[in-house]
């Protein structure tokens, strides 16, 4: 059976007060992502996985397509990214970064391996985290990581148009600094300084959480 997320019915009604709405994810209550990962890790909870897919599927797919994947390949890589989440949720540790950041790194690594066919010069967060099953995570860690991701997200709105443009070209379109410089007809140094300025805002936002 194939379901399409556009056709999924209204969210299940929960008891008690409605969860706070996430400003970007809309229907996704804060903290739910790490919670979903924990449910997937502990019980291989299909419903939790479906929610995760609904939240991240279109984003991962959009990410793959921006790098030049055709729709079928983007679909395949999206499935693969989220299946990796499914299979490795028990190895995920919030100590190593937020759930969203973990999923980003999985998608990024797949993109390098499959779309660029280059060496994946990265550790996978889950491989670093093997000693800490997610079920045993401290609540503090989950809260801190959610806070961290929320702050980074808020930082995006503080970026100037110039800064947003270069970080988007680097992170989403997968362009090197030299390629960005060429694309925007800018000196390489200007591209780099815009990147640095963008990150300084992130660093400042996270300072007291490190």
């Amino acid at each position: 059976m194939v379901q399409t997320w556009a056709h999924v019915g209204p969210r299940r009604q929960s008891k008690g007060p409605p969860p706070s709405r996430d400003p970007v994810l809309g229907f996704m209550p804060r903290g739910l992502m790490s919670d979903l990962l924990a449910r997937i890790a502990k019980d291989k909870d299909n419903d939790a996985f479906r929610q995760l897919y609904e939240t991240f599927g279109s984003r991962v797919r959009g990410y793959m397509m921006r790098q030049g994947a055709d729709p079928a390949t983007a679909e395949e890589l999206t499935q693969e990214t989220l299946l990796t989440v499914w299979r490795k949720a028990n190895l995920y540790s919030s100590e190593k970064g937020g759930a969203a950041a973990w999923i980003f790194t999985i998608a990024r690594n797949l993109r390098i391996d499959r779309l660029r066919r280059e060496v994946v010069w990265y550790e996978l967060t889950d491989e670093m985290a093997q000693a800490v099953p997610s079920g045993d995570q401290a609540v503090d860690d989950i809260v801190a990581q959610n806070e961290r991701q929320l702050r980074v997200r808020a930082t995006l709105s503080e970026l100037s148009d110039d800064q947003r443009e270069v970080v988007t070209l680097a992170y989403i379109d997968g362009l090197s600094h030299s390629q960005i410089a060429e694309r925007l007809s800018l000196p390489l140094g200007t591209v780099k300084s815009r990147m640095r300025l963008a990150y300084q805002k992130v660093r400042t936002a996270l300072e007291d959480l490190q």
């Binding site: 399409t4 990796t84 969203a100 999923i103 990024r108 993109r111 961290r148 992170y171 990147m195």
Partner: protein, 231 residues
């Protein structure tokens, strides 16, 4: 003997690595540095969070059709790329921290990717007091990745760069106009910089050099050797 990692890559270079858009040879050098440097691993984590936030917004960047969801048990046996290496603790070289230099060898990422260790490298002579060992890149990838061994006190040929170049010290030290670089330190230079490094007078230097484009060595020695080495 101890070394202190005080020279880190440019934030912009680390960001490009976190973004997955750093050219492969440079990514190798950053991975090698990060395996020795807790400070940079921490920075990379923040930079990956930025990637996650940007990825969340991709659906705003253009229309993305709804995707079908298949229950995971239906889709099986999909291969997941295994990174050629992963951090396993290793040296904890935070900024200003002392890093014991007792068992000097290549950084784990290089060891794993190329199945190499310092003792097994088949060095090729590049010139008087200079040896190198080229490391293969993926097919179609531009640039240059090589290990360079320079005898004590030996000057390296003056060179400029096409694009970015990273030099990571693996053993010994070298100095140039910008200062001295010890084990774990990385020098991150743009294409508008020319430098003429000199290996430490007692220790010599072994380093990993990564460039986005083939390095352009100049000067007498390099003009002499260029036809045979491709440098």
């Amino acid at each position: 003997m101890t070394a202190t990692i005080t020279r880190h890559p440019d934030d912009a270079t680390l960001m490009s690595f976190a973004a997955g858009s750093l050219p492969e040879p440079l990514a190798a050098a950053i991975a090698a540095h990060a395996s020795m440097c807790a400070h940079c691993r921490q920075e990379l984590s923040g930079m990956e969070s930025l990637g996650a936030a940007l990825m969340e917004q991709t659906s705003k960047l253009g229309p993305v059709e709804a995707i079908a969801w298949n229950p995971p048990r239906v889709v099986t046996n999909m291969a997941v790329p295994t990174p050629r290496w992963h951090f396993d603790g290793g040296e904890q070289g935070a900024r200003g921290e002392l890093v014991p230099n007792t068992a000097v060898d290549l950084p784990q990422p290089i060891v794993r990717a190329y199945n190499l260790s310092l003792g097994t490298i088949a060095w090729k002579r590049l010139g008087p007091g200079m040896w190198h060992h080229r490391l293969d890149l993926s097919p179609g990838v531009e640039g240059d990745l090589r290990l360079l061994k320079i005898a004590a006190g030996r000057k390296m040929p003056i060179h400029g760069h096409g694009g970015c170049e990273l030099t990571l010290v693996l053993d010994g030290a070298y100095g140039d106009e910008t200062g001295v670089y010890w084990r774990g330190d990385i020098q991150d230079v743009d294409d508008d910089v020319e430098h003429a490094p000199v290996a430490d007078a007692e220790l010599g230097c072994i380093c990993l050099i990564a460039s986005e484009r083939p390095a352009r060595f100049r000067g007498l020695v390099s003009r002499f050797i260029q036809p045979w080495t491709g440098m």
